[in-house]
Structures are given as structure tokens and as C-alpha cells.
Amino acid sequence: MNTHTLMVDLIRVSTANVFSTMLGVDLPPGEAFIENGTPESNDGVVSFIGVAGAWAGTGSISCSPGVACRICSLMLMAESAGVDEDVLDAVAELTNMIVGSVKNDLETHLGPLGLSIPTVVFGKNFKTKSAGTTDWTVVRFPWDGEALTVKMCLSPSEKSHLNCHMMGQTCALDV
């Protein structure tokens, strides 16, 4: 199983589990693809969390303001009329749980990994880019006529990649 396929499986399981446990929502399996090159423009809420260790990268969740408000309403059992601090906080926590669960499962394959504190952005017509990143594994989950997109990019950190070659081993990038 390659890294992309593994991440798609883990993102699907983790997202479905977090939605069912924290929001009481059964999310259908999302459509998966690889995104490379220029990322699409965003309108709405995007949350990021960094992953570090022998492998490093970023996990991200993006959705419309309406989906973000719905996440917050279901999570806190209180109505959210617009994107406010509670809504941004709820999306950040959802990202922490989804990416954190993926990270926990990836650790059995990739070794110990750490997570950063999430960052959330809300705006219109903006693009995001992670420095040095090549391909993103993307899973787009349909939800009541809208979508929630979970993305992850992960690659061996330079030091661990160099160590593989110095020791004459095959590393994941070479497979």
C-alpha cells in the first residue's frame, strides 16, 4: 500500500469517526484524489495543523462558512448564526481530532510524530501553500449539498531521508 492510499483510508476512517462521535453525523465516504500544482482558491474557513517527526507535513480542513457554523452548532449544541470565535474554535478542534487520529494511526507505519497547535483562517478568495510541499492527498466529503475537504501532505523529513541513503537502505521516496 502506498502512502497516498494509506492516507486516504485513514482520513476516511478518522473523519467518519470524529463526525459520528462528536457531531452525531454519518458522513458518506469522500471522493479522493491527489492535488498538485497550484491549489484552488478558497472561500470560507481553512484550518491547518502541522505534523513533525521522521515524516513531516500538514493536515488541513476546509469548508464553507455555512458548514463551519453547522459543525459548531452540532458540537456545542447551540445555534451559530455566523462565523465567530466559537465557530473557528470548533473547526480548529475538529481538525485537531481528525488529523490527530490519522497521525496516531500513521505512527505504527512511520514512527513517532508530533502535532502543532491548529491555525484557522476565514476569508474570501485566498490561496494557501505549504512550503516545499509537492502532492496533497485530498478527500472531499459531501454533506447536505455542500462539502468538507480534508487534505494531508506528508513526506520524509530531510534528515531521515538522508539517513536512509547513508545507510544504503531503500527509503519510501525511492519505492
Binding site: 485537531n96 496516531n104 502535532l115
Partner: protein
């Protein structure tokens, strides 16, 4: 006391705690370990629920600080966190955590852990 950098999680845990039927005077909130220790200097608490990954001072550092201080050593600490790695769990257990719940969690999972930790006080 509920310690988490996410206000959403603090609200959810407050709700769960109030649903347990425990006799609760008040629930203190802190956004990180440092803030929790500051509050503890002037308030006494019976239980701490804490996240692990937080800015300034994380949950493991908070646990270590509580367990090394004679005045706070007796306070049970339940870790509620996304961190599921054996290293972090092992570290928390070694330092004296009363329990560990992984996010995402259900209200019943929290109540079940609390029942084990505070058995005499809970009408569960």
C-alpha cells in the same frame, strides 16, 4: 478544572461534568497548563481534566507539576487528548495520571472514567 486550549472542548467537558450528577460548586477553566497552575494557587479543586497539546505549558508538564507538589499531589488528573501514542500515554501513566481518554470522545466515555476515579462521589 478543565484545561484545554480549545474553548469548544472546555464547553463540551463542562456540559458532560454537569450531566454526571456529581455535586459541583463550580468548574474552573484554563487555556493551558501555566494558567491552570496560576488558578490553583488561589483555588482548590477536586479533579483536573486536561488536554496534552497546548501552548505555553502542555498537559504532561502540568501533570508533572501537580504530582511533584505536595499540596496538589492528591488531585486526580484525567488526560483528555488526541495524543494516542504509546510514549505520551506511558509518560502520563508513569507520572500518575488517573486516566486517559482519547479524542474524539463520547459523554459516556468521560462519565465511565470519572466513575472509576471518583466512585464514592458519583451516583452513576
Amino acid at each position: 478544572m478543565v484545561v484545554d486550549d480549545s474553548a469548544a472542548i472546555r464547553k463540551i467537558l463542562q456540559r458532560v461534568l454537569r450531566q454526571t450528577g456529581m455535586s459541583i460548586r463550580s468548574i474552573l477553566e484554563a487555556g493551558d497548563g501555566q494558567e491552570a497552575l496560576e488558578l490553583l494557587k488561589s483555588k482548590s479543586v477536586d479533579l483536573v481534566l486536561t488536554d496534552v497539546n497546548m501552548p505555553k505549558m502542555d498537559g504532561i508538564q502540568l501533570l508533572a507539576a501537580l504530582k511533584s507538589a505536595p499540596q496538589w499531589r492528591h488531585i486526580p488528573v484525567l488526560m483528555v487528548t488526541t495524543e494516542g501514542g504509546e510514549t505520551k500515554v506511558g509518560e502520563a501513566v508513569k507520572l500518575g495520571a488517573a486516566g486517559y481518554v482519547r479524542k474524539p470522545f463520547t459523554a459516556d466515555q468521560i462519565k465511565e472514567k470519572l466513575a472509576g476515579i471518583l466512585e464514592p462521589a458519583l451516583p452513576l
